[in-house]
């Protein structure tokens, strides 16, 4: 989403306008969804009433059963074709609680939001740098530069900060691996990749809540997302990250790759 250098001045203006529009939208999105460190409030509850179907007097209910009327004395061979074709009725075990909807106000900060993709500028702490950059593609004309550490993908525009980035990625990556509690026998967990965005303060503590940016639907995706968020919160803080290069490492995206972890 950067300006194409080949464009002439005259047709740059529409592009600039469009860029402004887009950046403005991103700014708005950022303002709306970037989780501020608000105190959490307790939300409402949903109420479930158990249907009491008390088992009959079990001990007494059963006298020795007597063979009842016989429908068929001799199972003569019937042709299998007489059976009506079975109607496929997938019957996964139904989740029992039938919540009687009693929704109440939700806690303010508990829903993982989908934040806009910030691409911070090196020289600014302002939230505006979230909207001023663009989402870079890894790779592209960076041959000859030192490679980031294993498992870390650092993308830089320019400057000589690659080593610092690689170090920061290595530190954070290692801690995330140790903090991520998984169970590969859970199908949802082993097949899901969860992308978690988080921002760090200068002292290496988390700034706000981590947010999952690719939340899928269903219980398995939600559980995998929660485990990944727990991992980020457990791994933090990262006080060893060098303060002088704070602007390089303050924004992270961690990809928790279930298929890799469960190879």
């Amino acid at each position: 989403m950067s300006f194409a250098p080949a464009q002439s001045r005259s047709n740059l203006w529409p592009a600039a306008g469009a860029a402004a529009l887009l950046h403005g939208a991103v700014l708005l999105a950022g303002l709306l969804v970037w989780p501020a460190t608000k105190p959490m409030t307790i939300g409402g509850v949903t109420s479930v009433t158990l249907v009491d179907a008390p088992p009959a007097e079990l001990r007494d209910a059963i006298a020795a059963p007597e063979p009842a009327e016989a429908q068929s004395e001799d199972p003569s061979p019937e042709t299998p074709a007489e059976i009506a074709p079975p109607t496929p009725t997938p019957s996964p075990p139904a989740p029992a609680p039938t919540p009687t909807a009693k929704p109440q106000p939700k806690p303010a900060s508990a829903k993982p939001a989908t934040p806009a993709k910030p691409a911070p500028r090196e020289d600014s702490d302002s939230f505006l740098d979230r909207i001023a950059g663009s989402t870079p593609k890894p790779s592209g004309g960076r041959q000859g530069r030192p490679r980031p550490a294993q498992n870390a993908v650092a993308t830089t525009g320019r400057g000589s900060a690659d080593a610092a980035l690689a170090d920061a990625s290595a530190v954070v990556g290692e801690r995330l691996r140790k903090a991520w509690t998984i169970d590969c026998s859970l199908e949802g967990m082993s097949g899901v990749t969860v992308k978690v965005r988080f921002r760090l303060n200068r002292d290496g503590t988390l700034s706000g809540a981590p947010a999952v940016t690719n939340l899928g639907s269903g219980a398995a995706a939600q559980a995998a997302a929660d485990r990944a968020m727990i991992a980020v919160s457990r791994a933090a803080p990262f006080p060893e990250l060098p303060k002088e290069s704070y602007n390089l490492w303050k924004d992270f995206t961690a990809n928790f790759v279930g298929s890799q972890a469960c190879r």
């Binding site: 007489e82 609680p97 910030p118 727990i230 790759v257």
Partner: protein, 440 residues
Amino acid sequence: MSAPNLFRRLGLAFGLVLALFAAAPGVAWAQLEVNVNEGVQEPLPIAVPDFAGTQGSAISQVITANLQRSGLFRPIDPAAFIERNLNVATLPQFEQWKQIGAQALVVGQATVDGDGRLRVDVRLYDTPGGREIFLSQGGGIQFTATPDSWRRIAHKVSDIVYEKLTGEPGYFDTRIVFVAESGSRAKRVKRLAIMDQDGANPSYLTDGSYIVMTPRFSSTSQEITYMALRESGSSIYLFNIDTGRQETLGRFTGMVFAPRFSPDGGRVAYSVERGGNSDVYVMDLRSRAQFRLTSDPAIDTSPSFSPDGSQIVFNSDRGGQPQLYVMSASGGAARRISYGSGRYTTPVWSPRGDYIAFTKQSGGLFSIGIMRPDGSGERILSTSGLEEGPTWAPNGRVLMFFRESSGGAKLWMVDITGRVSQAAPYPGSGSDPAWSPLLK
């Protein structure tokens, strides 16, 4: 649209953004992306402090035991807890829970309302993140029941916590029907019995005046089918546990055994043995019409439906020794799926459809194992001198079976990884377990 017009429409804020963007040319920027390709495979450390209020402590203990038994959680010893006396209306001191290694925290409160009903409120927290994990759209969840159903509430809470943190449905609010064995080996009394999945509330369903075998649950209702054996012969019964009502499928020529419901509960498959040959039959419960599905001179038995009702797995010695075969639920050609050395019996299709559990006899030992419905991926989960008869928990993740030793028959459990293997929480002697679907 011209650029100036566009700018007017965008207004000051967006113009400012553009200005800032333009005013900071050429600076380096960075975005860090880390791939986390490894994790720590261990049970999730969870804290379940005593719920506040009436029976709160007992409820917490039932939940803790359930989660522990699943093998997917490691409940933290309450002695380590720093914060005490939590309640659902205030936020926990997250730092104190993070400090003792809890990754999740269950907070609950039990109250008796004006109508004398027990009301249990529950909230779940991500303690490192200091945030609530929603149990419902509203955040927390509340269960209401009569006070004597407090254990069921505890199982419901266990189920929802399990589901939120594993992504798979729970299986705790369920029951087990089994054959309770008592008396000396020579005069063994076998009675049908029922208990909660955690061994609580055991009671007898039959009086022991006749032998009962192979109880099997319907996957949709609290109904079982089982085989009764008297001197006069064998018969198959349907038994509604909630009402106590039971009825026979009818009188058969020959020995009838190994009944099992279709997934929709509308049919029962079983075997009939005559003159040394046994074949698989299906009866439609509404019309009571029966259909013969196999007709070869071999012993065909232990039919079990796939969860969609379209196929049946059974075992047959048509190839020389018992192996597993799959055929259409309307009969026809059968495809052999087991090819290992040994004898494969008592196949049971998982309610999830992904595995078939079986008993395997090989080298003088018995094992419980699972394989994919196409026969691939065979995995032995448990082995001993004598064990058999697996039954699936409704979430398709845990199996119960029975193991015979010098001390008699005992109920055992193992999960599909084989890592979590333990005696079922029933102190007595029992065999032939059958796992119920989730209670409503």
